[in-house]
Symmetry: C2
Subunit: 139 residues, 2 copies
């Protein structure tokens, strides 16, 4: 018996870690659980985290942890309560963050897309979305 | 009131989507919830998903969904039950997947690192790890 319970860590690469950290703390209200100077851990709910890596520092890093790093624009979707869609949109606008796109999925759930300071694509999606996918998969 | 409940989608970029899909289905036992030819959705528990994107196809894609894509080696950690650490290690070995590294964290939790066919860094981490981080953050 082997089980995957969920995504524990999702990663984005950034060019200015202090700027990125400030964005995720101020705009998304995330708490920093660790900051090693070249990597900043932002807790996303009880069971997962985002890790922001300074891409230049990462490429010079000597560590027992297996190496990784990618150039370009990453993507992460974060789950939010459906009841908070409107307040999340207002919060982004209040912080001067442009809403790039909004999408309603076939499941009836809704997403809001915007960018972080490194042009990574961020999405806020109703938390009910993947449980609905899961139900269909296991029907 | 704005809340982030967790990571809903984490992304990896691959050069051969069919090969990558087979790895994630066979080695990790994940179920495919959608395959669009240039993107394959693999359900990871009830609340999250991994999306594998064909990087070459993604760069040619015309879509209303905001663009992204990165070259290099990504990283995702997946939560597993602590009781399954040994069977997961055996499963990887049985599939001929080399264990690149194992790590015990200061929380007492443990991770197993390996690579997907595109050299992305994958990690299996005890599901108790981030709840322990969360407890400390909220103490």
């Amino acid at each position: 018996m082997t089980t995957i319970l969920g995504v524990a860590e999702a990663v984005l690469y950034v060019s200015d870690l202090a700027r990125a950290r400030q964005f995720y703390v101020d705009v998304l209200g995330l708490a920093v659980s660790a900051d090693f100077g070249d990597a900043c851990f932002l807790q996303t709910g009880q069971h997962s985290t985002i890790i922001l890596f300074d891409l230049v520092a990462l490429e010079k890093r000597v560590s027992v942890i297996p190496a990784h790093g990618a150039h370009g624009r990453g993507h992460i979707a974060l789950a939010i309560p459906s009841a908070e869609l409107d307040v999340w949109r207002e919060r982004l606008i209040a912080h001067g963050v442009p809403i790039e796109h909004e999408q309603t999925w076939s499941q009836g759930t809704h997403s809001i897309y915007f960018r972080d300071p490194d042009d990574n694509s961020l999405e806020l999606i109703e938390a009910s979305h993947y449980p609905l996918v899961w139900q269909r998969l296991n029907a």
